[in-house]
């Protein structure tokens, strides 16, 4: 068969049904045909009449997908029917028609994408300017210098007037001077939040200059004392829980300017940090990944390779522990987390984020099990060891809960208050506030 075939249909007949599979492509020559489909939101039926000379059935035929509409013949009709090979040959000779179809398809694609974006809503939408900067910094951290330079330069070209342009420019200067990524640089989101929190006082002022690599020198770092935990057997013999002030000192976390009253014009400094090694000693420290409420480590398959001895890898153990937790097998989960933590000294760079999550999970599991002392120990260690973790507030709230269990309202109130003072304002801040209000009665 070298060309399309002519086919006639009686009024009321169906050429194909929605969900049918088929590779024929049709062009209406004579008569009336309607395409019946569901609207994008599935709430209504959409009927579109085919114009004479118009193609239909193209997408499902080319994409080898089920038909997306039912084609119903309204009056006796004649159609040209192409199989895919003949259709392709036809397209080769009629590029203008293909171009027209491309335009139609592109319009449809835009429409679907718009609907997808609508449904995803603001919470899922990303700020692409911020994401581009994060991508640039990712490359910088991974020492992919050329990629990082490209991305920072691209950022500055596209968003030169953005709030974070100063940060991008400084990062680019650091790269060009051969400086490694400043490992204690404030997160992009935090910096943006700080900028946004400057309030009305900053309107009209010069662009904020909040990121200064020299701010992150070890001289600016404040020691944090670890709370000593004595030995105890249970709740009734809880060790002397350390003073709130002995828990990682969060006093120096900057006050968040209240945007309602104008706030302070000063840009908050970095939160307190534990003793940090010299920047020059650690050229490429991996950044900790985002932490959602529940554990969700993303790992390449490569990190899940079994060890030479055949024992479970850290990531395998971690996920097995999560499975145990979900089945309320507390002891099984704890023992797996314990194995992971005992391997800390031999952990690879990829394992570091899991170690962080494991310590938190171990605390969470003890907490659920009712092992208050062990839970307190884990959370305290976590707060000390990972003060910049995105789970820090959760760990602190858990510590507050333990204080509450011990009827130590003051300390519970104190730690919840600290949580409310830590940026950003998020659901943990709100939860801590609720707890304070509840304690106040």
């Amino acid at each position: 068969m070298n060309g399309p075939v002519l086919r006639t249909y009686k009024a009321g007949s169906i050429i194909y049904f929605i969900e049918d599979k088929g590779t024929d492509i049709f062009v209406l020559q004579k008569g009336r045909i309607v395409l019946i489909s569901e609207s994008l939101d599935n709430h209504s039926e959409v009927r579109e009449e085919v114009s004479k000379g118009e193609f239909f059935g193209v997408k499902s035929a080319l994409g080898l997908y089920p038909r997306e509409e039912t084609s119903q013949v309204l009056t006796d009709s004649t159609v040209l029917v192409f199989n895919p090979a003949i259709f392709q040959t036809f397209c080769m000779k009629n590029s203008r028609i293909v171009l027209q179809m491309l335009k139609v398809f592109s319009g449809e694609l835009r429409k679907v994408h718009r609907k997808v974006r609508e449904l995803l809503g603001g919470a899922i939408e990303h700020d692409n300017t911020v994401d581009l900067l994060k991508t640039a910094e990712y490359f910088y951290k991974k020492n992919e210098i050329e990629h990082a330079k490209y991305a920072f330069a691209g950022y500055l070209e596209a968003y030169k007037d953005s709030q974070l342009a100063g940060r991008a420019q400084k990062m680019l200067s650091l790269i060009e001077s051969g400086h490694p990524f400043p490992i204690d640089a404030q997160e992009v989101d935090q910096e943006l939040e700080s900028i946004n929190n400057q309030g009305a006082d900053l309107v009209g002022a010069a662009a904020p200059d909040s990121f200064n690599p020299s701010d992150f020198s070890v001289d600016n770092v404040i020691d944090m004392d670890v709370p000593d935990l004595g030995e105890a057997d249970g709740m009734s013999e809880l060790p002397d829980i350390p003073d709130l002030d002995a828990i990682p000192d969060l006093e120096s976390i900057p006050d968040i300017p209240d945007s309602n009253n104008g706030g302070s014009a000063s840009i908050p400094d970095m939160p307190d940090m534990p003793d940090m090694p010299d920047l020059n000693d650690i050229p490429n420290m991996p950044d900790l990944p985002d932490l959602p409420d529940l554990p969700d480590v993303s790992l390449d398959a490569g990190t899940n390779v079994a060890t030479a001895s055949g024992e479970q890898t850290i990531s395998e153990l971690y996920y097995a522990g999560l499975n145990d937790f979900s089945q309320e097998s507390w002891d099984a989960a704890i023992s797996k987390y314990q194995i992971i933590l005992s391997r800390e000294t031999v952990a690879t760079e990829t394992d570091i984020p899991i170690l962080e999550k494991t310590l938190y999970e171990k605390g969470r599991t003890h907490h659920r099990k009712g092992d208050t002392v062990e839970a307190f120990e884990c959370f305290s260690k976590f707060v000390k060891k990972y003060p910049r973790s995105q789970t820090i507030k959760k760990a602190m709230i858990s510590i507050g809960e333990i204080y509450e269990k011990k009827n130590d309202k003051n300390r519970a109130m104190g730690i919840y208050t600290k949580v409310t003072q830590m940026p950003p304002k998020d659901k943990e801040s709100a939860l801590a506030k609720q707890r304070i209000e509840k304690l106040r009665g």
Partner: protein, 213 residues
């Protein structure tokens, strides 16, 4: 494809390892690979994941022509890469002079439209559990014997599931944890083993019909 005549006008080459464009960068051009390989990557949870490796005849970056949206992934030359480089201005010239390329793009668009509509179907569900089920079904539909499948190993993470559902990972995690407990799935660092796709079909179907379990 015989596109040599266009090389002088639209040719662009990249050295091995050179970035062609970066994820989230605004862009208005797309590329057709003539020689060499191009790696498409995305950064997911602080890990750079390779989404695809493209070779001669492949097109990438074409969404920029349509969407005027930032790049959804990064493209990097794996080896010495020569491309034809197009934008909105020369798009029509290219498509009319190279119908085989236009046809290829037409085929790509049909797949993109279908995939986007399929995702929309998931997002329209009003229940996280049904959404997660439908994600499993959508991904299983790529298998040739999809309708008969009841068990499948999907190379996805919790984050990926969240992404397809349009939900944050902490929203989908409780659903997954519940199913782990029931033995319906097994969760690993890099994959999810689903044992009962038929259950997923039932849940999604009931939800679509507006029935409540």
């Amino acid at each position: 494809m015989q596109l040599d005549g266009l090389s002088n006008k639209f040719g662009k080459t990249f050295d091995p390892g050179k970035i062609i464009f970066c994820e989230f960068e605004p862009g208005g051009d797309f590329y057709l690979i003539q020689t060499g390989k191009v790696k498409i990557t995305k950064i997911v949870k602080d890990t750079e994941k390779t989404m695809d490796i493209l070779g001669p005849g492949d097109i990438f970056g074409e969404m920029a022509i349509l969407e005027e949206a930032p790049r959804s992934a990064s493209a990097t030359a794996v080896d010495s890469v020569s491309t034809l480089h197009f934008n909105r201005d020369n798009f029509v010239t290219l498509m009319t002079s190279q119908p085989q390329l236009a046809f290829k793009l037409l085929t790509i668009f049909t797949k993109r439209i279908y995939d986007a509509r399929r995702r929309l179907v998931i997002l329209l569900l009003d229940d996280v559990q049904a959404k997660v089920c439908d994600v499993f079904l959508m991904l299983s539909e790529k298998e040739p014997n999809a309708k008969e499948l009841n068990e499948i190993v999907l190379n996805i993470t919790v984050d990926d599931v969240g992404h397809w559902c349009g939900e944050t990972p902490d929203k989908v995690q409780p659903v997954l944890s519940h199913w782990i407990k029931l033995g319906k799935i097994e969760l690993y660092a890099d994959r999810i083993h689903v044992f009962h796709l038929n259950d997923c079909r039932r849940i999604v179907s009931m939800r679509r019909k507006g029935l409540h379990e």
